[in-house]
């Protein structure tokens, strides 16, 4: 299955892109996609530990199962206002 991962702020800068397409297995969960991001960006380990993940525009938990075509967003610690 394929999922789209949206990246922002420091994570997007480190990755050099604002979007990744990931191939994941049939019964993959959010945690699997998140681990792939983590392994691609070891230098961001500290920030990634404080990130949250959204799935299709809503905050998700790592246990959530993925569906083909899902859009994930990796959300670093916020800094608005």
């Amino acid at each position: 299955m394929q999922v789209r991962v949206l990246l922002f702020a420091s994570v997007a800068e480190a990755a050099g892109t604002r979007e990744w397409l990931l191939e994941v297995g049939e019964h993959a969960r959010v945690s699997d996609a998140w681990s792939r991001v983590e392994s691609q960006l070891p230098e961001l380990a500290e920030i990634l530990r404080s990130t949250r993940v959204a799935r299709n525009g809503k905050l998700a938990s790592l246990d959530d199962e993925l569906v083909d075509g899902d859009e994930l967003a990796i959300l670093p610690p916020v800094g608005g206002g």
């Binding site: 404080s50 959204a54 809503k58 967003a73 959300l75 610690p77 916020v78 800094g79 608005g80 206002g81």
Partner: protein, 137 residues
């Protein structure tokens, strides 16, 4: 009104858009780009990004909570994204209430919660050429 915009915020228009016929007071907070960081370094500007679907959903949730908690009549939250210079308005929160106490309290609540929860990020650009993504404490 809950919005994320890329152009300059018209603060008067944000307050004017509040629909509250029995309002006795309107409180507006305006967040402005400062020329120095907390550590004293000279700042040239800020760059803001947002995950808009979630950020807007958070604005709406904050608006509902402010109305439920403080009984205010109407609330507007507008945040700007993109590149901002020192002195420009980054965010405006306007609240209408029957009485000023609730309006002040709700306005403070809304901006505090926005800074705590909204999926928005800011990068400080320093005069010495350095830049840093800043997280809210």
């Amino acid at each position: 009104m809950f919005a994320i915009v890329s152009e300059a915020i018209n603060v008067r228009a944000v307050a004017a858009a509040l629909e509250a016929k029995s309002a006795g007071g309107i409180v507006t907070f305006v967040g402005i780009v400062r020329g120095h960081a907390d550590d004293g370094r000279a700042v040239l500007g800020l760059r803001y990004e947002a995950f808009e679907p979630l950020a807007l959903a958070e604005f709406e949730a904050i608006g509902r909570e402010a109305r439920d908690e403080y009984g205010v009549l109407a609330i507007a939250i507008v945040h700007r994204i993109g590149s901002l210079c020192v002195g420009e308005v980054a965010v405006a929160v306007a609240v209408a209430a029957e009485h000023r106490g609730a309006a002040f309290d709700a306005c403070e609540y809304a901006i505090d919660e926005l800074k705590r929860r909204a999926q928005i990020w800011k990068k400080e650009l320093y005069a010495d050429g350095d830049a840093q993504w800043k997280r809210n404490e």
